[in-house]
């Protein structure tokens, strides 16, 4: 307590509220006088008495030194005076400081924004008990086609088996995917995000309700007879205005009236970064799915109980997985392919840490975010190099001042402190600019990630972000400040007398900084070119259908599958609506990453490795999508697909093939009327080709047009209604919805979107990468240009005497230009070469996310080099003009 008071008073002393020097000196003087009088009393002469007193008391000046140190905090005092001095320096070079602060600020802001995003998507742990013990189940799945891919979706019967297998070793919980649902609160229909969870979820996550109760094991009874939900704190405050009476209220969700029984704790917004869950419903409310094997609709998370390792839990579940697989294989028709079966039997279940949540947004954006973060770091380094150049230039201009400071006794550390304080001040101003920038930029990037389905992230400015910015600012200060500080502090007092304005070491430093800047800059432009070209190529690739004015409604049928005639009736009703041009249905629409493949054989031909795509469509589908009929006819009601009967007997059917199919299987001759066989569960079913249509994209944007077979739709319980409208499709949406609900109460529209939205959604990642990398390329170019300009301009000012002499002696303008620019040509060139090499290497790494562009394309290399060269020339222009216009008479006089 006492020491605290002492430090506080000394702090005040530092800041100026203290006893002044003359006050202290007066006190000491009295002491000396009294001591001298004392000596005089014992008989000394006045002079002798003063000498004795001085020896005895130790002298005024030493005591003053000790008092001054004691009065304030010496190190703080020097720091404060350095800060005052540094801010004067920055103010003196206002333009240069402003440029440095802005460029650093934008770079720091971009880095902070990137960190906030990555943190929110990938790293921030869920606000639950011991998140490090949470794991998500998944497995490397193999399809019947032999494709491999990670899967983490499970059905309820599997959940029951795994739960039994894990027994008391772990808590096994159902984490449903966050999905948009129509709810009716009061009279308003609106969308809310729902997650199904098992009754043990909240207890396992150690969560406590804010109001009411959370879901418990009692809500797990099968099938659930009570319709209860827990709403998130965020939804409670946003939708219900924090109404304390909300518990017990009901709202409609689908066909249920659900009762709100409690509010989840604040900050718990579900388990999927990218989506904020509004309400949690017991998994057992999804009654139809509870006994449906193969209906996968949730993730399974695992929390090993204390003293059980995740591996032990994995093993116990793995045993069950193997048993399940063996059972499935036993029921397969005998002719399934051997290697695929054995791979299937050997599928390994994995436990992935899930403490930061699990979502598809994580999988989609992980790589792009890392790439962008890397680009941001490069931009930041370019900005640092700029500021370092500025400080070196100022440093050599201030060498005289430094030497003077050394000669009056300033230590080397003191000088380093002086320059570092200046850097820190710059960095601090920059980090304020950066904070503002990231405050704007992070939500902006989130809006880029969102298309139709908004990506929702919690972007609070929390201590992690603050800590990160602080760390970044300090690192940056060290990066650009330390070299100039060391250089400035290495002056000797002698140097003050005979100082070289610009030591060679400085020039080397500046030149290598320019090389580095140019290399980074070229790299960023190069990468942005690759991503930009990818986006352009993808957006411009022909799709084979007209995506505009098409509305897609995904429909689930409650109850039995409905035959094609029923679907056709619904389509017919929709056709009669105003604003509708045509309507049809399909199993799904293109570019939704759904696919169905099965081998097709043509009599007299070798079987093929690759199976064509299949899609079940209704009559008029090609009309609606504007896929051209090349030959033959469209489907009619009554056409049947090749299929298997109840006893696996083949039922022949008809199909329409794409031009790519016709080319691949029949070598361009029109195959209308030809017969092929379609493999359905390893039984060959004949199919007659009745028509040929133009090629259309199917699975995703990146695939080339592949052979595709269209067949009439079967009786289905889910399909997509495809509607072409004359105006804005979304405007007609509500009336179509009402019509569907009116005609068939059992048809539930689960999702309505435009076909172009599906196309756009395919391009989110590419658009994000290309937009942001273009932005960073622009910033990098601007910063590198400013840097080059600054260095050249400084060189011209430094050498104006020399230039003046040469011009007086008759040097031509071209000679002057060459002299000014020559020094920078090689660093720019070296930087460009390194940048191209790095860019080509990087291009190889990200080849899989590029489209129809290679890092080694001459155009991909030439474009950034030309852009950089143009920018460098542009930046060099003002200093060169200045050099050429040097007036010899004036410069010579000034020396």
């Amino acid at each position: 307590m006492l020491t605290l008071l002492e430090w506080f008073r000394r702090l005040l002393g530092t800041l100026g509220s203290h006893r002044r020097d003359d006050d202290l000196e007066e006190e000491l003087r009295l002491h000396m006088e009294l001591a001298a009088e004392h000596a005089a009393r014992s008989g000394a002469s006045p002079a002798e008495a003063r000498r004795v007193a001085r020896v005895h008391t130790g002298g005024v000046s030493q005591a003053m030194d000790a008092l001054r140190d004691r009065r304030g905090l010496p190190w703080l005092q020097s720091l404060v005076s350095d800060i005052v001095f540094a801010s004067r320096q920055l103010n003196k070079h206002r333009g240069a400081s402003l440029a440095a602060i802005l460029s650093l600020g934008i770079a720091i802001g971009a880095a902070t924004a990137a960190f906030r995003l990555m943190d929110a998507v990938l790293w921030r742990t869920l606000p639950v008990a011991s998140p490090d013990r949470l794991h998500a189940l998944g497995w490397d799945a193999i399809t019947s086609q032999g494709d491999r891919g990670y899967r983490d979706d499970f059905d309820y019967p599997t959940y029951r088996r795994y739960r039994a297998a894990a027994g008391s070793r772990a808590q096994i919980i159902v984490i449903g995917s966050a999905s948009r649902q129509d709810v009716i609160i009061g009279t308003e229909t609106e969308r809310a995000i729902r997650q199904y969870v098992s009754g043990n979820v909240f207890a396992t996550l150690g969560l406590q309700p804010v109001l009411g109760r959370l879901l418990g094991p009692a809500d797990d009874e099968e099938p659930s007879r009570r319709s209860v939900v827990v709403i998130s704190y965020e939804y409670w405050t946003r939708r219900f205005n924090g109404d304390p009476q909300v518990v017990g209220k009901t709202f409609r969700w689908g066909r249920n009236v659900v009762e709100i029984v409690g509010i989840a704790p604040r900050g718990f917004t579900g388990t999927e970064p990218g989506r904020l869950t509004d309400f949690f419903a017991p998994a057992t409310m999804n009654t139809q799915a509870l006994n449906s094997a193969g209906w996968s609709w949730f993730r399974i998370w695992v929390r090993p109980n204390d003293d059980v390792s995740p591996e032990q839990v994995r093993e116990s579940i793995q045993t069950q997985v193997r048993l399940d697989r063996q059972q499935t294989v036993k029921n397969l028709p005998g002719s399934a392919s051997g290697p695929i079966i054995s791979a299937y039997l050997n599928e390994q279940i994995t436990l992935t840490p899930a403490g930061a949540g699990v979502s598809s947004a994580q999988r989609t954006f992980k790589r792009p975010l890392f790439i962008l973060a890397a680009l941001v770091v490069l931009v930041l380094l370019i900005a640092c190099a700029n500021v370092a150049n500025l400080l070196v230039a100022q440093g050599s201009a201030r060498a005289r001042e430094m030497a003077l400071r050394v000669s009056i006794g300033a230590g080397r550390l003191r000088l380093i402190q002086l320059v570092l304080v200046e850097s820190a001040l710059l960095a601090l101003c920059a980090s304020i600019v950066g904070a503002l920038f990231s405050w704007w930029a992070a939500p902006f990037v989130v809006s880029l990630l969102s298309f139709q389905e908004p990506v929702q992230l919690v972007l609070d400015l929390d201590w992690r972000t603050t800590l990160f910015s602080l760390f970044l600012t300090m690192t940056v200060t060290m990066l650009f400040g330390l070299a100039p500080a060391l250089r400035a502090s290495s002056v000797t007092p002698l140097g003050a007398v005979n100082i070289r304005r610009d030591p060679p070491a400085n020039r080397r430093l500046v030149r290598s900084l320019i090389s580095v800047q140019m290399a980074f800059c070229l790299f960023v432009i190069f990468v942005s070119g690759l991503f930009g070209t990818t986006l352009t190529n993808l957006s411009n690739r022909p799709l084979g259908f007209d995506q505009n004015h098409v509305l897609v409604m995904e429909v689930n049928v409650r109850g039995d599958k409905q035959p094609p005639q029923v679907w056709e009736d619904v389509a017919n009703q929709i056709r009669s609506l105003p604003g509708v041009e045509s309507a049809s249905s399909a199993m799904w629409v293109p570019l939704t990453e759904n696919r169905w493949r099965t081998p097709v054989a043509v009599a007299g031909q070798q079987p093929r490795d690759e199976a064509p795509y299949f899609l079940g469509v209704s009559p008029k589908y090609f009309d609606t999508m504007r896929i051209g009929l090349v030959a033959g006819r469209d489907f009619h009601i009554g056409d049947v697909p090749p299929a298997l009967g109840p006893d696996n007997q083949p039922i022949p059917g008809v199909g329409i093939v794409s031009e790519a199919f016709a080319r691949a299987y029949f070598d361009t001759t029109s195959p209308v009327g030809r017969l092929v066989t379609v493999n359905r569960d390893n039984i060959a079913v004949p199919m007659k080709i009745i028509g040929v249509v133009g090629d259309a994209a199917y699975y995703n944007m990146r695939e080339p047009m592949r052979p595709t077979v269209y067949v009439p739709t079967d009786a289905r319980s889910e399909a997509a209604l495809v509607v072409r409208t004359s105006g804005d499709p979304l405007a007609v949406g509500p009336s179509i919805r009402r019509e569907v609900a009116r005609v068939r109460a059992d048809f539930i529209v689960t999702n309505a979107a435009t076909q172009s939205a599906f196309v756009q959604r395919q391009l989110i990642r590419e658009r994000l990468l290309s937009t942001l990398s273009l932005f960073f390329a622009g910033v990098a170019l601007l910063l590198a240009g400013i840097g080059l300009y600054g260095v050249l301009n400084y060189a011209v000012i430094r050498e104006r005497h020399e230039i003046g002499v040469r011009m007086a002696l008759g040097a031509r303008a071209s000679h002057v230009v060459a002299r000014v620019t020559n020094e920078m040509l090689s660093p720019v060139g070296i930087g460009a070469v390194i940048g191209v090499a790095a860019g080509v290497g990087f291009g190889r790494l990200v080849e899989s996310i590029l489209f129809e562009v290679k890092a080694t394309d001459p155009a991909a290399i030439a474009m950034p080099v030309l852009v950089l060269a143009a920018a460098a020339a542009f930046a060099a222009l003002p200093p060169v003009v200045r050099a050429v216009h040097t007036d010899p008479a004036q410069t010579l006089r000034s020396e």
């Binding site: 006492l2 020491t3 008071l5 002492e6 008073r9 000394r10 002393g13 202290l24 007066e26 006190e27 000491l28 009295l30 002491h31 000396m32 006088e33 009294l34 001591a35 004392h38 005895h56 008391t57 130790g58 002298g59 005024v60 030493q62 005591a63 030194d65 000790a66 008092l67 001054r68 140190d69 004691r70 009065r71 010496p74």
Partner: protein
């Protein structure tokens, strides 16, 4: 840099506070020279404080709120800065004295035991 107090003064540091506080307690408010003179007298000349030790010490005690300094005049009508104990100073003195007594008792017991 500023002259650092020699090693001898470091030993003195803890005890100097106690001596100054005790002096002011027994003699009432005093200026710096009087404190030094008193200590020199009591120690029979063994303790000669130079100003570089005494005044920073006084400043430190003042910063800790144990002393209060104010300008006044001496008997010989000179302007001098007088230091007086504050209430906190009195409490601190009592505490320090107790600690000192305990320490000396321990030291004595230890040294006698060894002899």
């Amino acid at each position: 840099m500023a002259n650092k107090a020699p090693a001898k003064a470091d030993v003195l540091q803890g005890t100097l506070d106690l001596m100054v506080l005790q002096t002011l307690d027994s003699m009432g408010p005093q200026h710096g020279y009087a404190i030094a003179a008193r200590l020199e007298q009591v120690s029979g000349g063994a303790l000669q404080l130079n100003m570089g030790t005494l005044y920073p010490g006084l400043m430190r005690l003042e910063q800790r709120g144990l002393l209060k300094g104010s300008w006044g005049t001496t008997d010989t009508n000179r302007k001098a800065r007088f230091y007086a104990l504050t209430a906190a100073g009195k409490r601190e003195l009592a505490r320090e004295k107790q600690a000192w007594d305990r320490m000396t008792a321990i030291m004595q017991a230890l040294l006698r035991g060894q002899a």
